[in-house]
């Protein structure tokens, strides 16, 4: 999985591409979110548009990132999950946990 970070106002938008899976994408995601939080960037928007799928480890890492951000007074929100990722968020009912947006502008404005 690849990540690129853009700063939009006070929000760090993390564009993820590839798959968030055990031993690979989950580690990349964790490291990137921790790096942002440790650098004082507490408003994090994970863009999932180009994530093809996740497994249970990747889903677990999303939850771990959400909790870690909250511990540090920050927030993790999700942008544009689609296809299999959307299915998995609904299946696991994490749809009810995360704030999820279809468009970037209102997502950024929501922080």
């Amino acid at each position: 999985m690849k990540t690129t970070v853009r700063t939009v106002g006070q929000v760090s938008v993390v564009d993820l591409s590839g798959k968030i899976t055990i031993g690979e994408g989950d580690v990349v995601l964790r490291d990137k979110v921790l790096e942002l939080l440790d650098g004082g960037h507490s408003k994090i928007l994970l863009s999932l548009e180009k994530v093809s799928y996740m497994d249970s480890a990747g889903i677990g890492e999303l939850v771990a990132c959400f909790k870690k951000a909250r511990e540090k007074g920050g927030t993790v929100k999700l942008l544009k999950p689609s296809g299999k990722v959307e299915d998995l968020l609904q299946l696991t009912k994490l749809w009810e946990v995360f704030e999820i947006f279809d468009e970037e502008q209102p997502a950024v404005a929501s922080f």
């Binding site: 899976t21 055990i22 031993g23 690979e24 799928y53 497994d55 249970s56 480890a57 889903i59 677990g60 890492e61 939850v63 771990a64 959400f66 909790k67 299999k84 998995l88 299946l91 696991t92 009912k93 994490l94 009810e96 946990v97």
Partner: protein, 161 residues
Amino acid sequence: MVSATTVKLVISSEVRLVDVVHTASEAIAGIAGFEEDDALNVGIAVREAVINAIRHGNRMDPTRKVEVSLQARPRSIRARVRDQGAGFDPSATPDPTFGDNLMRSSGRGILVMRAFVDSVDFKFLEGRGMEVTLKKNRVRGKTTRSARPSAAAVDNGGIER
């Protein structure tokens, strides 16, 4: 009479090998005639079974093996994943969508498996580990051009053995 196509894999308990099994599972689903999206569902379900076998069955011990059998049948796919662990009671697994479990960072593997294939059966084999069998039937009419089953397969009424 169309015979089943079978692939068997034996891997050590290393998470970097999960992708190998996932890729093989999707490929075998393709051979069984599943469309791309359903083949990915099969791949994800088998992937979860292998992750469970490595993490919870074999406790990440790389000297312990995970055996995987993938079988493309005329109208379905069957996958068996066996670890070398002490077994567990799948019915005792907490519902990951309930209450505080929602915020746990693990425990969703069986939920994902059950969602993406038609049946998931666990069996503890005394002295030989836990075996999970996953089955998914191909929806009639959803056939890839490159893997269309023969007339003999269609004529069997979809009955699997």
